[in-house]
């Protein structure tokens, strides 16, 4: 039986090849996606009692209609709630240091570490880590203790023992107390250095500052007792916060640890975070690709059924039972599926490194992991059944004598089913092509929409906040000037400018401390705040609509403000704009200029009100505009100057156009992936069409012969074979158009500046699908048309 199954498969080499390649490519791609999706859906579930762990979210109403949602809480909050709320079993808090990466010194070299967090002594008893060496209790006791992940320890110490080693940060010495296993890929916590929060509290000034109920700097996690009422706890902790902060509008809620990954509405996300929509999209794509691949298999097998009808009939006449035949066909299907599995595993292993690189994950796939095994086996069983049962049903239901007499071929009966499947495949393909085109156009739109500032040849470096710590404003000003002058000495540096943040993605926003003439009492909109020097508008090519920009040497400009057009409009500033009273943080000054709107955040967002002030102690970002030329040389000269200015800070720069592209990295990734998936899908679909066209040509071989004898030209024959398929592709296009139109409109709604979906996109998608289909089919059709009809019309 096995031998016959093998022989049957080998006999149809083309079908086998199409089945195997389609199925294994489809399975590989959808499995890779599924691995990612499963990982996304299982964030943080590996911690013990993860169901009972929550993070505190705070909702701060800054003005009616505007609420800020923060993941951070005041420092004293957790300990107080742990004392006063009996439902709470355990609390822990963490903070991620500063906005600027911290710098470690090891063996004389300086290293910036971005993924570092301060945690309190409860951290390791709430969250599950695998201890590799050292002791977590020693870490909890040591205010200057560190816990490193395995790969971080390797990076610093190589093969040497890490425990007991000293790392210098700022002016303090830290000891490595423990090494834990790397964070799993489904962990929200991507930190590879954990430092003891107790060390932070040694700084009295900081402690005093953080202990105020007005400062939200710490992220609080709580673990409830089993079967606690979440709503009740939220109510209880809100009361504590309101009482201590003396604020009746503030509110705390809890978000489950496992739901944190898809959380929405926060103003800033510390932890690894994904848009749930994307996960859904990819899940759907995985299913669609698998579906497309499976459809090929079913289609080709059922199509083959009519060709095998004679064999099956003869077997039946010779006494084969339906069960025998069924098993025979299932065995064939099983064999193909198994072979596909082997190829899939191979392909998976080959493509995984690229996939990891692209998704910036560290997935390992081995068949011993149960989700992978379940997925692979599930897919396999499903395809075997799908691919085996239906053809088997069709074939075993033949009336053998009728088939031998040649009167009834089962092809007509099941062709509607097959057509529906082809339509499905092309609906999927065309939808994906259209979606890819739209995604691509939107990306282009964003990157080529004028950001209203220029960003070429501009270098950005950030000076850590502590450099200017404890200095007076005058000292800072003169230091700033020194930086400016020193950097300007480098040949090739055209101008330098300093500001409180990057122009690419300026997040700093404030609310409640602004006032101007005509402001309604309860109108406290959030306004982005930027401190920038005199050169800033020149460097970025900003234009003034009215008035002038701030002057560095003009003392009065310390209290002057420049607003953008949106601010003027949305704040309802009275005319004349210039000279209007404007106060911020209790300091009253005047509006001296209106700058034309520019996009200081990603195009996902609309331009918001912006206020620019001239206080120089805010400025930690240095921009340098380079003249076109030898960039590496310029960079190394700048670095030399930098080393003189900041001996303890590594020269870590970026170019603004790169930063700009980073804003859209996840969009780009999504677009690239979509493009890739669209290609895979259409290849798989075309493969199936190729097989079907070959089959049609074979089945119609007699008709083609007759028609040729009747005078049909090759063109007629090609038309004859293609017509039916092109019709199916056409139906696919018709279904795909509204479907992808709708889906992509939803996606585009994420953008403040979006393209309009135009009909030509669907025409192009339809046209390319048709072209690919036609090309595929005509290979077979032309072959059939060229054949000598006499050969196929012999009746003996």
């Amino acid at each position: 039986m096995f031998k016959i199954a093998y022989r049957n498969l080998i006999k149809q080499k083309r079908t086998l090849l199409i089945n195997l390649s389609g199925l294994s490519v489809g399975m590989t791609v959808s499995l890779l996606i599924m691995v990612w999706v499963i990982n996304e859906l299982n964030y943080d579930n590996y911690h013990t009692k993860s169901d009972q762990i929550y993070r505190v979210t705070n909702h701060i109403e800054v003005s009616p209609g505007e609420t800020w949602v923060w993941e951070s809480s005041p420092l004293p909050y957790t300990s107080l709630m742990s004392k006063q709320v009996p439902e709470i079993n355990k609390v822990t808090k963490m903070m991620t240091g500063t906005w600027v990466p911290l710098i470690f010194e090891h063996k004389g070299s300086l290293l910036k570490e971005a993924n570092i967090a301060y945690v309190d002594s409860n951290w390791f008893s709430m969250f599950s880590y695998t201890l590799l060496s050292g002791s977590l209790s020693v870490f909890s006791e040591n205010p200057y203790g560190l816990v490193l992940t395995e790969s971080k320890a390797k990076k610093y110490f190589g093969a040497e023992e890490a425990i007991g080693k000293i790392l210098k940060m700022d002016s303090l010495y830290y000891t490595v107390n423990a090494v834990v296993a790397d964070n799993p890929s489904n962990s929200s916590f991507k930190f590879d250095i954990l430092s003891n929060m107790a060390g932070l509290m040694k700084n009295e000034a900081r402690k005093k500052n953080d202990e105020s109920w007005g400062n939200f700097n710490y992220i609080s996690f709580i673990r409830l007792h089993e079967n606690s009422n979440q709503k009740l706890v939220e109510k209880k902790i809100t009361e504590i916060l309101r009482k201590n902060k003396d604020d009746n509008t503030i509110r705390s809620t809890l978000v489950g640890l496992k739901d944190m990954h898809f959380e929405t509405g926060l103003q800033y996300y510390t932890f690894s975070h994904t848009n749930q929509q994307i996960v859904t999209v990819f899940l759907v794509i995985a299913v669609l690709i698998l579906l497309t691949a499976s459809i090929n298999y079913v289609n080709l097998s059922t199509a083959r059924a009519s060709i095998r009808a004679k064999e099956i009939s003869i077997r039946k006449i010779n006494g084969a039972s339906n069960k025998n035949l069924f098993l025979q066909l299932m065995l064939e299907s099983g064999l193909v599926s198994f072979a596909a599995l082997v190829i899939t595993v191979l392909l998976m292993n080959l493509s995984l490194p690229y996939f990891n690189q692209f998704t910036e994950n560290n997935f390992t796939i081995s068949l011993s992991d149960w989700p992978v095994t379940a997925l692979v086996l599930g897919t396999l069983t499903l395809t075997t059944l799908l691919n085996g049962v239906y053809p088997a049903m069709i074939l075993t239901s033949f009336k053998p004598l009728q088939v031998l007499r040649g009167s009834s071929l089962p092809t007509i009966k099941d062709s509607v089913f097959r057509k529906a499947l082809v339509v499905t495949q092309f609906t999927i393909s065309v939808s994906l092509i259209a979606a890819t085109i739209i995604a691509y156009l939107q990306m282009q739109h964003i990157q080529h929409t004028d950001s209203k500032y220029q960003k070429d040849q501009i270098l950005k470096v950030t000076v850590p906040w502590y450099v200017t710590k404890g200095k007076t404003n005058e000292e800072i000003s003169s230091f700033t000037q020194t930086i400016q002058q020193t950097l300007m000495q480098v040949p090739g540096v055209k101008r330098t400018s300093q500001a409180s943040g990057s122009i690419i993605d300026h997040q700093s926003t404030s609310s409640g401390s602004f006032d101007w003439n005509g402001r309604a009492k309860d109108f406290n909109p959030s306004i982005s705040v930027l401190s920038a020097d005199e050169i800033f508008p020149q460097m970025f090519g900003l234009e003034m609509k009215e008035g002038r920009w701030l002057k560095d040497r003009n003392q009065a400009d310390q209290h002057s403000y420049v607003l953008n057009e949106t601010a003027i409009k949305e704040l309802g500033i009275h005319k004349p704009y210039i000279g209007q009273r404007f106060s911020w943080g209790g300091d009253t000054g005047a509006i001296i200029g209106i700058v034309k709107d520019f996009h200081f955040r990603s195009m996902h967002e609309k331009i918001t009100p912006l206020m620019v002030h001239g206080q120089s102690n805010w400025r930690s970002t240095i921009f340098m505009q380079l003249t076109p030329g030898n960039i590496p040389d310029q960079l190394s000269s700048i670095e030399n100057k930098w080393k003189v200015l900041f001996p303890k800070i590594p020269f870590d720069y970026s170019f603004l156009d790169q930063d700009f592209n980073k804003l859209y990295k996840s969009d780009q990734q999504m677009a690239t992936l979509m493009f890739f998936f669209a290609i895979i899908t259409i290849i798989v679909a075309a493969l199936g069409l190729f097989g079907l066209a070959a089959f049609t040509a074979e089945r119609k071989i007699k008709e083609i012969g007759i028609r040729k004898v009747l005078g049909a030209s090759s063109t007629h024959i090609v038309q004859l074979i293609s017509k039916e398929f092109i019709l199916l592709v056409g139906v696919g296009i018709l279904i795909a158009t509204p479907l992808s139109w709708w889906a992509m409109s939803e996606w585009l709604n994420n953008y403040a500046y979006r393209i309009n979906i135009q009909i030509w996109i669907f025409l192009l998608a339809g046209f390319s699908a048709t072209a690919i289909a036609l090309l595929t089919i005509s290979i077979q059709a032309i072959k059939a048309a060229m054949e000598n009809p006499v050969k196929n019309l012999r009746s003996e």
Binding site: S407, K702, I706, R707, L710, G711, S713, N788, L793, S795
Partner: protein, 222 residues
């Protein structure tokens, strides 16, 4: 009308060359009705196919209406074929998915004839063959004799000057066969259509004006 000179046809199987036709010389004039006879494998069908331009001789020359067929380009030859030749098969070779009407209409499509003309021509021939009532039936709903009538109607609708028939009555009973032969005779005598038929039956062969007997690829008797 047809002049075949020194026609050879062979196929190479491995290193062997198998001759199907050997040195055929044959002349058929306009209005003739020729029956080709001979045992299975004697090369009858191959000869018919060569005359019908569906197959090509390995050697020799073929003049059709004084035109050297083998000197023509593929396109010109198809044109010559389309304008002059109709085929009738033993197994009818109707298209199963098409109705009687559509089957008969098919060659007209390839002759680029207008829809209205096509309708008239098909109606005429349906009438002539007495199968008007069957025009919407599919081949599987007809008897063998009726199918062959449709096959012949289809072959002559383009008014070919040469009708080739490969055992047209082979699948029919004798009375159906006679009916077809009578039809052939009528076509030959009234329309002047040249007919060449391959047959096993002496009785049917006798309908022809002359009989050619083939044996092992050679003409035995004219």
């Amino acid at each position: 009308m047809i002049q075949l000179q020194n026609i050879f046809k062979w196929i190479n199987t491995g290193s062997n060359r198998v001759f199907i036709l050997k040195d055929i010389n044959l002349e058929i004039s306009k209005g003739d009705f020729v029956s080709i006879m001979g045992p299975s494998g004697s090369g009858k069908s191959t000869l018919l196919n060569i005359i019908g331009m569906l197959d090509q001789a390995s050697e020799g020359s073929y003049l059709f209406n004084q035109t050297d067929v083998y000197a023509l380009k593929e396109k010109q030859r198809s044109q010559l074929y389309k304008e002059n030749i109709g085929f009738v098969f033993q197994a009818y070779h109707l298209i199963d998915e098409l109705t009687v009407y559509e089957n008969i209409e098919t060659p007209l499509l390839y002759h680029n004839i207008k829809q209205s003309d096509r309708q008239a021509m098909v109606a005429d021939i349906l009438d002539q063959f007495n199968i008007v009532g069957k025009k919407d039936l599919f081949p599987s709903q007809l008897s063998g004799g009726q199918q062959q009538l449709v096959g012949i109607a289809r072959a002559i609708i383009t008014k070919p000057t040469l009708l080739l028939a490969d055992e047209p009555t082979g699948n029919l009973n004798s009375s159906q066969g006679e009916e077809i032969m009578e039809l052939f005779r009528k076509l030959n005598e009234e329309n002047g259509t040249t007919i060449i038929q391959v047959t096993h039956s002496e009785k049917n062969a006798a309908y022809g004006k002359r009989i050619i007997e083939l044996l092992d690829g050679r003409i035995e008797k004219k």
